[in-house]
Symmetry: C2
Subunit: 640 residues, 2 copies
Amino acid sequence: MAVVGVMRIFVFFLTFYISLYCANSAATDIELDAKAQFTHRIDSLNLLLYTFLLILTVLTIWLFKHRRFRFLHETGLAVIYGLIVGALIRYAGSKTPVLHMSVTPEKDSKYNLSLPPDTLWLRFPNRGSNPPLPNKTYAYAFREEIVDIEDNEMDLKATFDPEIFFNIILPPIIFHAGYSLKRKYFFRNLGAILTYALIGTTISSFVVGALMYGFIHQMPNLKGSFTFLDTLYFGALISSTDPLTILAIFNDLHVDVNLYALVFGESVLNDAVAIVLSGSIQNYGERYQSGTGGFETQAFFRALGDFFGIFTLSLLIGALMGCITAILTKFTHVRDFPLLESALFVLMSYSTFLIAEASELTGVVAVLFCGICQAHYTYNNLSADSRSRTKKLFELLNFLAENFIFSYIGVSMFTFPKHHFDPGFIFAGFFCAMLGRAVNIYPLSFLLNLGRKPKIPLNFQHMLFFAGLRGAMSFALAIRNTVSDARQAMLTTTSLIVIVTVIVQGGATMQLLTWFKIPVGVEEEVEMLPYAGVRSEMAEPSRESGGGSRLNDKAWLARIWADFDVKYMKPFLTHARPTLLETLPVCCNPIARILTTTEQMTQDNRSRSQLDSDSDLCIEENELSYGDQRRTSVQRVRTP
Amino acid sequence: MAVVGVMRIFVFFLTFYISLYCANSAATDIELDAKAQFTHRIDSLNLLLYTFLLILTVLTIWLFKHRRFRFLHETGLAVIYGLIVGALIRYAGSKTPVLHMSVTPEKDSKYNLSLPPDTLWLRFPNRGSNPPLPNKTYAYAFREEIVDIEDNEMDLKATFDPEIFFNIILPPIIFHAGYSLKRKYFFRNLGAILTYALIGTTISSFVVGALMYGFIHQMPNLKGSFTFLDTLYFGALISSTDPLTILAIFNDLHVDVNLYALVFGESVLNDAVAIVLSGSIQNYGERYQSGTGGFETQAFFRALGDFFGIFTLSLLIGALMGCITAILTKFTHVRDFPLLESALFVLMSYSTFLIAEASELTGVVAVLFCGICQAHYTYNNLSADSRSRTKKLFELLNFLAENFIFSYIGVSMFTFPKHHFDPGFIFAGFFCAMLGRAVNIYPLSFLLNLGRKPKIPLNFQHMLFFAGLRGAMSFALAIRNTVSDARQAMLTTTSLIVIVTVIVQGGATMQLLTWFKIPVGVEEEVEMLPYAGVRSEMAEPSRESGGGSRLNDKAWLARIWADFDVKYMKPFLTHARPTLLETLPVCCNPIARILTTTEQMTQDNRSRSQLDSDSDLCIEENELSYGDQRRTSVQRVRTP
């Protein structure tokens, strides 16, 4: 009811203003001003629409949470409200008329490049017409290439520039994922997460790409418009997962933290992998088409190099910027002014995204790893005020951005002018997305279980498979380019897959947890024992080893890194003990002294560790070789 | 040094990418993609530039604060860094080439409206040229009318769409001003603040407008391009003040809170007045030009009606949305989920801005009064988490937005393509701005002192006069429309006035405080006595009355409002005592019962009042008639 009421207000507003401005018409200047004002008002109404949708979502989801109704997550609700309002706009809203005109270059134009000009200056010839044409020059900016003139109505009602998703909506979501990552369990399961995210996503992309290509060759109406690269691009974008709904339920019910870490960690990283992969595919396509790449195989290897190069460089930029922020907050006393400190934190994090984008790398990947570094190092140096401020700020931004994107997915299903519904493609898309998820999880879990000490039980594998909801990243990649027919069909299918998985799979999570007998209500301490209390069908021998296997359940990669981290990185970048004076060889003492702050030397180790996020450390302190030595040194400091 | 380093990186990046993309050229599609990527990268670099400027500003200002160096506020610093970087870009940066083309309508075009078309479709005729022109259709969107073709290079380097200032940068600044207003002292000085802001700003606008018109008629080179309305518009935009620097120093030094309230309250409200006034002037101009307004006097009164109508309606929308948020947070238990609550708060506040803009009202005014209502009512209903989250969020947004706008003022001084430096106009502008401020403060203070009990001493008046720095609002209004020569000259002069006042007047504040013998280090409790301890030259008789005049130092308007507020508004909109059951007549008991929450009935009044913002109430509780009755009722609740 409320939605209809809101929409009525909109329609009323619209017609009111149109009539207002039709009555008031004389000279062109004023019409032009009025038109600009009208456009501004339409923009405001568009934004208002989404703001209202979000308000509705917030209020309804409160009601659901209040009544402990867990079948619908806020993102699912945002999609549903979006669909309803989108349909109302499509079938009830009045259409804003767009005036357009076809033009040709002036006769004496000397323009002879193959690129479209950036700007056009429109001048009217002086011929007698009634009313007389304006004797003015108007500037126009390039917007897009028109492929299908029949279809193109430029009716961009309630839609936004797709670049907004990449540059404004995604960065806070991804940063927050990195910033709020439970690093202890993430690093403990690093091997499995990397396997699923890097290898699994790549396999899934190629399997989906190949299968879709096969399907399309069975459909005569689509055959011509898709290349293998198109379907591969679809494979990449549909391979990124977004299990928000499921993670929210996991969190509410205290599902096993290792399962949580696997689902969350994989979804965070496969977003990064998917975006880099899709970028490499596009680059490959460009090279292949242009012919400058030479052999196809050569272009393929260059794409592979692209993929690893861009991923690694973006990761490094993100980590570097995180470390620079840590150094700035450690060695200056900016924490005496929490507002300045928070501003610095936000600015450094956002500049990471911009630097990566400006360097032809992937901002999303950079900002993810920047977030992880900020949480791991910088967070320890921040004042209490900045800690809570940044945590809460990004939590809120993440919430708003996520729900906005899901409302938009709903609304755009009806209002975006470039949807292309093809039942065959949609069916194939759903089937391949499911299969792609399966070939990621099951074979890789089998391989992982060969080497892994606490094995990933079958019920966890099923849950991982079902946690393959699609979301923001898939949609953002799909809507980025909608010029060709193929891309439009992909957008439609992706939108549908997102909507269906979020609502259906998200809604079924509670049921699935029961079916798969996933343990709930697990306290964080309890499952330090490898999957202790897992009532899985797979009775594992390792279960008996109990607390003794603590050491084994860490990936070797994580152990090496953690050792290096605790010995050198943390002492260098934060106020944590041991200091570099203790960990570096004696010859480096002068440098170590410079890099060790007075605070670090004098602080009480134990009282501090309650404040900072060291409890998130991936390795228990006493497992490290210098544990005893360090304890002694602390005592040495304290005794006098 | 750091700035030069950063710029070098930029220039390197730029040339690197240009060379990269010049080498890689073949088919148009790929060139088009590459061009889009290039534009995206330039956009990222532009944003990065401002992010770096802000990082630099934050770090430098930390250093200044650390060393207790108060001559430069962060906004002044942002302007200076902006100027330096702007000059570097202007004189050192490479120029991005913009391709443009003149076009005429196609021969068979049936377009015969006087408005410019919204979109153009560019098609190339099939004539043999080398290289062959693309056989494609490109879409172009309307951007602006070109007045001076010679000058127009469309070189929008490091500049943004002026609408961004109005729709994204200003709302959080203005909302924060309302949300962080010290309401006790604001309401206590309401009469004076309203006089300065409403009457003073209007007088200042007309005086500046008339004087500037007179000046311009002495200058033959400007005479033709300015109408009286243009100079009046200038008067309105230059009459809004932005004494950030001074307020920061007041805050640091604990300057008398009444003086603080006068300076802050006036600057907040005169922004609102200036924006509505300038809007009315534009509307008047449109009507006058178009001739539909009939007589000039008629149009004048319509403009006057516009002014009051728009101001009042915007105020009401803002207050209404604030109250709706209060009701939503009072009667739902959304505070059990602080994240949802904060999101609701932010969304409701932003939708206030959008609703006002979409209704042809002034979003800035609406969002200001929304902020005041949110602080006065909603804040009391929020959970502790949401309170700190919203406070800190808007504090941070305000900080970032303010410093961004001041950096932009600095950079755009060199990079904005439409500056028009005219020494005569600039000199006249400075003189008139000063005079306009004087005719606002001194005559009105004299009039106010006739009726006001604790008079505004002369040294406070001087300080008020010098607190007339110009800032964000003046600049945003000036850059909104830069089509004509007159408007361009205004923008240049406004930018210069902003820069000079922020740096010079801001820097001189400490000196001025000493010169004018303004008391510093005043505790909030102390100056509850009317300006007690003011070492002013004006020995006032009322000073002797001491604590006895407490009752008199409240504006009668504030008293009536406060009585109504405490009796009806607060009990209805918040969990505050007394409840409506106590304040409404007995016949309304059924309604009162519905509107009173259990929490309101059962809560411990005293423990709660420490938490909420009631201490900001404009009238001490025991001054109100039902004070005793209320205390008894509290006891009645407690005794059993």
